[in-house]
Amino acid sequence: MAQLKVRIQRGDGMAEYGVAARENQTVLDVVTEIQREQQPDLAYRFACRVGMCGSCAMEVNGVARWTCRTHVRKVAEDGTLTLRPLANLPVIRDLATDMTPFFDKWARARGQFQPKDAPNGAVPAEFAVVPPSSPKRQEADAGIECIGCGVCYASCDVVSWNPDYLGPAAMNRAWTLVNDVRDGGRRERLDAVAGDAGCHSCHSTQGCTERCPKNLDPSSAIAGLKRSIFWGVLAR
């Protein structure tokens, strides 16, 4: 049976493994096989194995991907896979990264819903009616399916050039809330995403949009933030 060469970043070096190449195997299958058969202390992360949780993201031959949804035969180059932990994040060990900075930035971008009717957190008496066909609802729906996998964040140059940069996922989240008519935190949120650490440093390179496994478009969401701030400042 043909062999697959797998290079995995461990600490400062690269370890090399050989695994049987099969007709149908995902990159996650390969990592699991290596851990079970050859390297029991190999650290990596996964949960659902079907593209629901977003925890299995790694750099596969230089591109951030969900390994459970990536078929080896589609990405192997000359029968070789090179696996590294997700870029732009601190490494805990081997292929497992520390996602703390990523989620801290969601909080900084005011990614939490602030109900307009109930600032104190009380449950509103009535359900809000938001017609699915209304433009704002559609804009919010376009970005709502994000599962926080960090693939876009690892694919963004601006994050690596400026560690304070909020990044595509946090701002995509902010944009869905800016378009949520039930939300009351618009003004503070737009202030939170303004400036060099926020939307104004995005260069529309669309690495995030190109790579998001959910086919979301954070790049356009960020453009929406820039637009809202630009016209908002004029209106103030």
Partner: protein, 111 residues
């Protein structure tokens, strides 16, 4: 390694490199035109001095740089202010085509 394999990324790089080129050239351009302060003769002297193939090639490069940067800049502005989404890829291609066209046009006129 960040991910740099898609057209929009190349578009960004071209736009940035041409922007740097233009920003470095601008003071030179103004210095050259500044010869006019000393009268028409000084400017004419300068123009004769630059009337050779090396400067012609430089000029051609500049106009191409400008066209490239203009096209890339319009792409960014369309994404930011008009909220264009779907036809992004075509946009990059269109920009490149436009830049090439402008460069060639200048070449034809200069020849």
């Amino acid at each position: 390694m960040r991910d740099r394999r898609h057209p929009a990324y190349w578009g960004f790089v071209l736009h940035r490199v041409s922007g740097i080129g233009l920003a470095l050239f601008l003071p030179l351009h103004f210095w050259a035109l500044g010869h006019a302060i000393q009268g028409e003769a000084a400017l004419e002297g300068f123009l004769r001095f630059t009337d050779n193939w090396a400067f012609k090639a430089g000029e051609w490069g500049l106009v191409t740089l400008l066209a490239l940067h203009l096209a890339g800049g319009l792409r960014v502005l369309a994404l930011e202010f008009l909220g264009w989404r779907a036809r992004q890829k075509d946009l990059v291609a269109l920009s490149a085509g436009f830049a090439l066209g402008a460069g060639l046009m200048f070449l034809l006129h200069a020849g």
